[in-house]
Structures are given as structure tokens and as C-alpha cells.
């Protein structure tokens, strides 16, 4: 009896529901399109890379200087550096979303953007998980949630596949140096640390609490790393090699395993971390060879 009643009610109200359903299905895609931002300003090179990786590069109307990947991004109007962007230039691009990176863009600038009611999305800084989280957040904000999930799944799969290659290989001790002077390295909370671990290396600065602490040269010598990787601009290669050459008691120096890598791969928490891991694996697991890298 009761069952029947429910059934009747359902059937009676069906046309109404159907209408509603149809309306929702018809209107929702448009709603989505209205809601999704169409003019995005990116305030960091890594943010630009994430937006492009999601296939939303067309929506980017402004980027910071040094946003050079993918190459198309270089053509976009510039709004100044990530440290000191020009608010005027940002406003002039009529963005309906500005995407920034915490701990990279100065809080002063971000607060001001918020005061001016400019729609602002602030991505986080942190480990690899934060990068995935940032991709998903960006995807959702751009109406590309599905693409973001696919991208993250793909990247994680690629990372996993890469780590399979290094299973069982000996684990070299690594000193990862960021920039030339001072000796800045990566602590356990930085995604660089995770990359080193995934690449089958041991980060000698793993016990550091800060993400990017200044490390003492004495500690490097004591820890005696097998490999030293310096992430910096290529112009400084000679100077860096000359610097480390003075410390032949370090195994990495003795065996000619001081490598300078392009910092673009290593200072941008973007989908290109996969490339970064590839580079690390190559450098950590090859026989000590005399020659250039």
C-alpha cells in the first residue's frame, strides 16, 4: 500500500522532475562556462606551467618575467617579476582570476590584490603532494577538474614507473645545492627531498627542519656525499666546479660527480617534476665517468 503510494507520487511528479532535469542539463554547461575564469594572470613560472599542462594556456592573459615554459608562454604580456609584480599591469589585463604561489609571491602584494577585490587563487608550497593538490585546485578553478585528475594520475604513474627503474640499485648520498652562494639545500619538507628519495638517493640534509636551509660546508665535507647536484643558471657552471674542486676529500669531487643542472627543472613545483626526476635518476645511477655533464 505504502509502496504503491510512493510509486504514484513519483510517477505523478515525473514530468516536473524531468523538466527540472532537462533544465539542469541544458543550463549547467553554460553555467559552468560562465563561472569558469576566462582571463587568467599567473604570478609564477610554475603556475604558468600548471595552467598550460591543464590545456588552459589560451586563457592566460599575463605572466611574470621568466615564465618561459612552454615556449608559447613567452609571448604572453608580462606583469613584472614574481617578487615585485606591477599591480597596474595586472589590473590592466582585466583578469577574472589571478593565480599566485604562497611563499613565492610577497604577502604584501597578495593582500593588496585581495583588498582590491581581484579574484585570487593562492597555491601552496610544499612537497610533491602539494604539487598534485595545486594541479587539482587550479583545475577545479578553471572548470577543468577532470583534466586535472587525469594529469595528476598520469604524472603519479610516470613517477612510479621511474622509481621502479631504480629499485635495488645502490643508494648514493646526495648533496643537493640550490643556487651558487650561499650553500642552500633542501630539507625533508621540500619536494626536492622527495625527488632525491624517489630517484634512489639519500639526501644528506634530510634532518634539516626548514624546507630550504643554508647548509654548512663543514657538514657537507663530514657527510661526504657521493654526488653533488647544483641547480642553478648555466652561466655559473665554471665557478661552481672550481669551487668544489678545492675539496677533493669529498667523494663526489674525487670521482668527478659534481653536476650542474638547469634550475628551471628544479625550482618550479610544476608537472615538470617528472623531468626533474628523470634527470636525477640519470645522474645518481651512472658509473663515475670522466667527462662533462
Amino acid at each position: 500500500m505504502k509502496k504503491q503510494l510512493t510509486k504514484t507520487v513519483l510517477i505523478e511528479s515525473l514530468p516536473k522532475n524531468l523538466c527540472l532535469l532537462i533544465i539542469v542539463y541544458l543550463v549547467f554547461p553554460f553555467l559552468n562556462a560562465w563561472a569558469a575564469p576566462q582571463r587568467i594572470v599567473s604570478l609564477a613560472p610554475s603556475v604558468t606551467e600548471i595552467i598550460y599542462a591543464l590545456g588552459a594556456g589560451d586563457l592566460v592573459v599575463g605572466v611574470t618575467s621568466y615564465s618561459d615554459y612552454p615556449p608559447e608562454a613567452k609571448q604572453k604580456p608580462k606583469v613584472g617579476t614574481f617578487l615585485h609584480p606591477s599591480l597596474e599591469a595586472i589590473v590592466n589585463l582585466k583578469p577574472d582570476l589571478v593565480i599566485a604561489l604562497s611563499e613565492t609571491n610577497p604577502p604584501r602584494v597578495l593582500n593588496r590584490l585581495r583588498d582590491l577585490n581581484i579574484p585570487l587563487l593562492i597555491l601552496k608550497s610544499g612537497g610533491l603532494n602539494t604539487i598534485w593538490e595545486n594541479i587539482i585546485t587550479t583545475g577545479n578553478a578553471l572548470g577543468k577538474g577532470k583534466e586535472a585528475n587525469f594529469l595528476v594520475a598520469r604524472l603519479q604513474k610516470e613517477l612510479h614507473a621511474l622509481t621502479q627503474q631504480v629499485k635495488g640499485l645502490p643508494k648514493p648520498k646526495v648533496f643537493f645545492q640550490i643556487g651558487y652562494r650561499p650553500l642552500v639545500t633542501c630539507g625533508a619538507s621540500a619536494y626536492h627531498h622527495e625527488l632525491i628519495t624517489l630517484a634512489g638517493g639519500i639526501n644528506i640534509a634530510a634532518e634539516e627542519k626548514a624546507a630550504y636551509p643554508v647548509f654548512s660546508l663543514e657538514k657537507v665535507i663530514t657527510a661526504n656525499p657521493d654526488v653533488i647536484i647544483v641547480s642553478t643558471m648555466e652561466k655559473q657552471t665554471q665557478a661552481i666546479k672550481a669551487f668544489w674542486a678545492k675539496f677533493s676529500q669529498i667523494s663526489a669531487v674525487r670521482n668527478n660527480r659534481v653536476y650542474v643542472v638547469n634550475s628551471d627543472f628544479f625550482d618550479r613545483p610544476s608537472p615538470r617534476v617528472v623531468e626533474a626526476l628523470k634527470i636525477l635518476i640519470k645522474l645518481l645511477h651512472k658509473e663515475p665517468v670522466m667527462g662533462k655533464e
Binding site: T81, N92, P107, D115, A211
Partner: protein, 321 residues
């Protein structure tokens, strides 16, 4: 027909108006008539408060330079060179890092405390009376500045990387994020401090002749001096809190004004304020225009303009000894 100061007044007023308008129409984005919605936004909500704050800060710095030069009986005194700005920056950063808010005034009060502390140290070193040799005096200031900068950098080494941006702002001086809130507070402090300075204009005139002369004129210097020092700390503190450390404005401007308009402080102080305002507004217009859209901290521009002038003054001073 016109007296010399009045001519200077009129001339400076027109120059100031020109600078103000020029600054409003100079920036990373060129404005086209009629203004679009974005251009209006840029003009009224970004540039206008920025120019106003620049004027306020520049005026305050020039005013404090003029007064400090009398208080210390030294033509080269200036808040930046004497390390008072450095003390204010340290106080502001400490207040910021310790999370002292006090409804938005925490940083300003911290900076005020820091400036007061710096002034106290300066007086402790040179003695409250002393007409000290310029070189010792400058040396004391420079070293004090170095000390405060070192402490700021020491703190920056302890805190995480994101706080570095904040320290960068404090050390270089920057107006790029100026809003109406800052303009409001700054005009409040400028008004109070400016009025106190004007109130003491006569005393300053007398003090410029030396404290002995002032005493013979029957003017008690002590109280005025204490009040002016307090006001200077407040002015420098408020300035540094909204704009970071901007140097040399307080040096260049009072010298120019004294050459043009003489030594009557009732006339020179307002002139100093206006000229300082114009100078910083112009410097900031340069800062946001030359490498647009790259922003240059305005402190860099004033130092580039002011430091050579300082050296020139020092040279004349040495020659005339």
C-alpha cells in the same frame, strides 16, 4: 613686489602640481582618454593612493631631515643615514613577526619604538649637549644603521624563506602596494607631527644659532628638544611602517630649500614638506615607469639620486673646514 620666499612658494607650488599630475599619468600602463573601466581603476585605486602616500612619506622624510639637522646641529643629519630608519624597520619587523597587531597599528608602534630606541642610542653616544665633530657623529649613525641592518638580516636567516620578501620590502623601501588605509594613517601622523614642528618653528630658528644663543633669547630648549625628538620618532616610525626604509630624501630637500628660502623655519618647514613630497612622488613615478612592468623599489631610486648629492655635500664640508 614679491619677496624671495613668496616667489619660491609660488614656483614650488606650480612645480609640485605639475609633478603630481605627471605622476598620476605615468606608470606601467599608459592611460588613454576616455578612460576605460580598468584605467579608471588603475588611476583612482592604484596610482592615486600611491602618489598620495608617496607625497606624505616624502614630505615626512624631508621634514624630519630638516628638524634633525637642527636638533643635532649637523648639516648631514637624516633619518636614514643616522640609523633611525633602521631602528624603525627593526621595530616594525619584530612587531610583524611577533604578530603584534593592535588593530593594524602594531607595526607602526613597533617602528615608532625602534626609532625612539635608535635616537636614544645616538644621544647616549654623542651626549645630550655635545656639538660633536661631524665625522664622529656620522660614524655613529652609519654604524648604528649597519647594526640594525645586521640584526634584520640575522632575523631573516632564522625565519622561513617567505618572510624574506617582507625583509626585502623593509630594507629597500617600496610604495608599490600603497592603499588608502596607509594614506589615512599616514596623513593622521603627518598632521600631528607637522603641527608640533610648526609650533616649535621659532625655537628651531633660535636653536639653529646654537643653544647658547637660544638661551640668551629666553627660549628653553630642553622641553622643545624632547618633544621634537618624540615627534621625529613617531614620524620616522610611521613612514617606515608604510613604506620601508627610504633614504636621502631628508638630506637633499632641506639643503635645497635652505639655499632657496633661507632659515626661517616657519617658511622652510612647509616648503621642505612640499618639496620632499614632490621629490618622492617623482622618484616613485620613475620607479614604476623606467623598466615597466618591472617595478623598482623607490628606495633604490632615491639612493641613486641622493647618495651622490651626499658625497658632494661632504666634499664641500671638508673643503670649508
Amino acid at each position: 613686489m614679491f619677496s624671495k620666499p613668496r616667489l619660491v612658494y609660488i614656483g614650488l607650488f606650480f612645480t609640485f602640481a605639475l609633478v603630481f599630475i605627471f605622476a598620476l599619468f605615468s606608470g606601467a600602463v599608459p592611460l588613454h582618454w576616455p578612460l576605460s573601466a580598468e584605467e579608471k581603476f588603475i588611476l583612482f585605486r592604484l596610482r592615486f593612493p600611491r602618489v598620495l602616500l608617496g607625497g606624505m612619506v616624502g614630505g615626512a622624510l624631508a621634514l624630519s631631515g630638516a628638524v634633525l639637522q637642527i636638533l643635532f646641529i649637523n648639516p648631514l643629519a637624516e633619518p636614514y643615514i643616522l640609523g633611525i630608519s633602521g631602528g624603525a624597520a627593526l621595530g616594525g619587523i619584530l612587531a610583524l613577526l611577533l604578530g603584534i597587531n593592535l588593530s593594524g597599528l602594531g607595526v607602526t608602534l613597533g617602528a615608532f619604538g625602534g626609532a625612539l630606541f635608535a635616537l636614544a642610542i645616538l644621544f647616549f653616544i654623542i651626549g645630550i649637549k655635545g656639538e660633536l665633530d661631524t665625522y664622529f657623529f656620522l660614524l655613529a649613525g652609519v654604524i648604528l644603521n649597519a647594526l640594525f641592518t645586521a640584526i634584520i638580516l640575522f632575523i631573516s636567516a632564522l625565519v622561513k624563506a617567505s618572510a624574506l620578501h617582507t625583509i626585502y620590502f623593509w630594507l629597500l623601501g617600496d610604495l608599490s602596494t600603497a592603499g588608502f588605509t596607509e594614506v589615512g594613517w599616514m596623513s593622521f601622523f603627518v598632521l600631528i607631527c607637522g603641527l608640533v614642528c610648526l609650533y616649535h618653528a621659532r625655537t628651531l630658528d633660535a636653536m639653529a644659532q646654537g643653544e647658547v644663543v637660544a638661551a640668551t633669547l629666553g627660549i628653553s630648549v630642553g622641553r622643545a628638544k624632547r618633544q621634537l625628538l618624540l615627534v621625529m620618532s613617531l614620524l620616522v616610525g610611521a613612514t617606515v611602517a608604510v613604506s620601508g626604509m627610504i633614504g636621502f630624501v631628508g638630506l637633499v630637500v632641506p639643503h635645497g630649500i635652505r639655499l632657496l628660502a633661507g632659515n626661517q623655519h616657519r617658511t622652510t618647514l612647509p616648503l621642505c614638506f612640499c618639496t620632499g613630497a614632490g621629490f618622492l612622488i617623482l622618484s616613485d613615478a620613475i620607479a614604476r615607469k623606467v623598466f615597466a612592468p618591472l617595478e623598482m623599489p623607490v628606495g633604490v631610486i632615491t639612493a641613486l639620486l641622493g647618495a651622490p648629492f651626499f658625497l658632494y655635500l661632504l666634499r664641500t664640508y671638508v673643503k670649508n673646514r
